[in-house]
Structures are given as structure tokens and as C-alpha cells.
Symmetry: C2
Subunit: 240 residues, 2 copies
């Protein structure tokens, strides 16, 4: 009787890689979507380069490859040199799927694994590319098919539909008034921590007074706090 537990460590080929969408490609699609390329807006190479943190030349390379792959239709983007890029139907579908993954994972981390709000984004950003259909389906079911993620952002359905809501950045509010926080940006974890401390979380009812260089906000019964313009730029509200 010999102990050889190691025999049972799985064995498999290297690499992964679904149907031809690499992690990189998905990130480009997501970035194009985020910059408006899913709604007929032509997105510039430099905007993409800036958002993705890569050199402009790298963007051009990738766009050429994406546009070239698959004859003409069936391609994931519509691209003409010097005239920007937008998503094709297929590209938009895929981009929304990745966004769905991202937001479901965020919700899952927050609801089921008790992550702090400001940490869900980074983890989801990595995992969104590697989960299977089954994983997606299972966490969606576990969470009761949520419509919004913990930041207040809408989660696209499997069909790519998305609850749309009208809102403004708090930073664009000029007068005083009472608002409901629609969503908070996940861009900056530190800022997110500030918002949480102030009670500026999705669904919160806030009384806002614009001041030079910022806002005075009161959430619920708490005492008023000063909110910088930076932070206000990361909070979206709807008027009550």
C-alpha cells in the first residue's frame, strides 16, 4: 500500500482560450463599448490607447487584426483606417457578455463572499475572462438573477438587454436638492472607500448643496459631509 496522492493532480494541456476571443480581444471590445462604440459612435485609436493603457500603435495593430479576421461580416468590429472603430452586432454581443460576467462576478463577490465593495472590481476584472457559461448561469441563479451590481450598474441579460436609467454625475449638479444615488464608479478604490464612509451608496437618499469646490451632502440622519469635486464625479444620482 503506497501513498501516492500526487497521481491525482489533474493533467492537462496548457493554455486555455475559448472560441478565438483572447483576454486581450475581450478587453478591446469592452473598451470600445465603454467609449460609445456600441451605439454608432466612432471611437478613436487614441481614446482606446488611453483607456487601455497601451501605445497607439498597439491599438492600430489590434484593430486591423480584428477587422481583418473573418472576411468582412462575422467580424467583431467595423474599422476604417483614420476613421475610428465601432462594434459590429457580434462584437457588441460579446462585449455585453463580458460586462455581464464582470457585474455578475462583482455581485457574487459582494453578496456571497462578503468582499468589501472597493475590492470586487479588481477581482472581477481578472475572472470575467475565464468563467464558463455554467459558472455564469450558476452564480446568476444563486443571486436570483440580479439586475444591478453592488455599484448600482445594470447587469446585461443573457440576451444583451440592459436596464437603462437616466442619471447625472453629482459633479454636474448645480443647485441644491434631494437626490437618490443611482450608482458609484468602481474606477478608484480609494474614492469608493470615501463614498462608503459618507454613506454615498446606491439607493441612498441624499440632500445636496452645491458649494464652491465641492458639495455638502447629508445622507439620512447623519451629519453633513463635504464631498470633493473628484468624488462627486464618481457618483451618479437621479432627482427624487
Amino acid at each position: 500500500m503506497v501513498s501516492n496522492w500526487w497521481c491525482w493532480i489533474g493533467r492537462f494541456g496548457l493554455g486555455r482560450q475559448g472560441r478565438g476571443n483572447t483576454e486581450s480581444v475581450d478587453n478591446y471590445l469592452k473598451a470600445i463599448l465603454a467609449l460609445g462604440g456600441g451605439d454608432g459612435v466612432r471611437v478613436t485609436s487614441s481614446a482606446l490607447a488611453e483607456r487601455l493603457g497601451v501605445a497607439g500603435a498597439s491599438v492600430t495593430n489590434m484593430l486591423q487584426k480584428l477587422a481583418g479576421a473573418g472576411a468582412s461580416d462575422s467580424s467583431v468590429v467595423v474599422y476604417e483606417r483614420h476613421r475610428g472603430v465601432m462594434l459590429s452586432e457580434a462584437g457588441k454581443r460579446r462585449a455585453l457578455e463580458v460586462v455581464r460576467h464582470h457585474r455578475l462576478i462583482e455581485t457574487f463577490l459582494y453578496e456571497v463572499l462578503d468582499y468589501p465593495l472597493e475590492e470586487v472590481h479588481e477581482e472581477a476584472e481578472r475572472l470575467e475572462h475565464f468563467i464558463s457559461e455554467r459558472f455564469e448561469e450558476r452564480i446568476a441563479a444563486k443571486l436570483g438573477h440580479p439586475v444591478f451590481d453592488p455599484h448600482g450598474h445594470a447587469i446585461p441579460t443573457m440576451g444583451g438587454e440592459m436596464a437603462e436609467r437616466r442619471s447625472v454625475a453629482l459633479a454636474e449638479v448645480t443647485g441644491d436638492g434631494v437626490f437618490v444615488v443611482e450608482s458609484v464608479s468602481d474606477r478608484d478604490a480609494a474614492r469608493l472607500r470615501v463614498m462608503e464612509a459618507c454613506g454615498l451608496t446606491p439607493g441612498a437618499r441624499v440632500r445636496v448643496a452645491a458649494e464652491k469646490d465641492g458639495y455638502r451632502v447629508r445622507v439620512g440622519g447623519k451629519s453633513a459631509v463635504e464631498v470633493s469635486r473628484d468624488v462627486a464625479g464618481d457618483v451618479r444620482v437621479v432627482s427624487e
Copy 2:
């Protein structure tokens, strides 16, 4: 008031990639561990190539890079050309960490997300490379720091310790007797489905009778079933 939900899709650089361990490197380390390279056994290039499903030349390349990186100590493997490879302390630590990730994820998928047993492996194989320390910690806590995964394999602790148990493959059993199933291999999903159907799951008490070309097993009150040599090779048992 303008709706521009897309502004809130996260923005980030591409790529990922922790402290220099790529997914590929982790897979090599895991494979070396699985072939005994964590216990002073020199593992051959061809064994690695076979297990990883890559060409021999690719293995040599990788081993040279792994051995070369970081002066001499601090390297993750001990390698001499033509004489095989084994893990260094650091390499073994990392390999066990990846195995820990894998098995925790499997347990999580099975326990929390209700995956069928035969599907957990493939998903874990992908995700093990991309979860953070926090994710690992959170699922371990959620599961109550489990010691075995759903296949019956021991989960290494954070310190790299691992419950060791003595067992034999059912295929090596010659006489008759009563055994307890210690673990089942996750290698082959189809085989796993057969085992589940037979009741051959970790912890099950089975009465075994060797026959030419296979085994006759009785689990609990169920009627006896025939088990092929192939399947028996994927079941490990301890005598009662």
C-alpha cells in the same frame, strides 16, 4: 440628464500576471509536483511533455528558463540537462499553492454552486491561476476550511501541509474484501459519471470481488455492479 451608463464600465490596462508566475509556469510546476518532483524524484522531460501535452523541446526551453531565472537559489526548480528536474523549496511551495487553489475551487463549485462532480475539475483548472489571495481566503472560510475536496483529495493548507493517507488503486486489489473509497480521479469526466452511478464516491463502503477483466462491487444496499479495469484504476480505496 443624459444616460451614459457605459462611462461606468471599468477601465484598466491589459494583461494580468502576478509576481512573475505565468499560467504556463504554474502548470509546469504543478506537473513536476504531480510526477514526484516535490519529493526528490527527478522528473524527465518526456514525462512532463506527455503530461502537459506539449513537445519535448518546449519542456526543455521552459526548464532552462525556470532554472536560469534568479541566479541559482531563489529559482523555482533544480535542473541539469539530461538529468531531469525537481522542485526547489520555493517551487514546491508555489505548486502546492496552485493545488490548494484548484481543490478549494472544486470544493466551492461543488458545495456552493451545486456543480455536478464531473464538471468541477475543468472549471477549477482554468480559475486556479487567476484568483487572488483574498478569494482563496474567502472561499476557504465559507467552506469551513475543508481538508478534502469532493473527489476525496487532500487540500494543502496555506503553509503547504497536506493530509497524507495510504491507499491503493482499486485496480491493484487482487483478492476480495471490504474497502472504503478514499478518492476518485478527476481525470476523465465520463469515467467519473460511471463511478457516481455505481455509488463509488469518497467515503462509500464497498464490498469488492476481483474477477477476470474487472471487479464486482456492492455499495451499501445496492445490487452489485461490474466495474471495468479502467474505471477501477481511477478509484483509490483503503481497506476497512
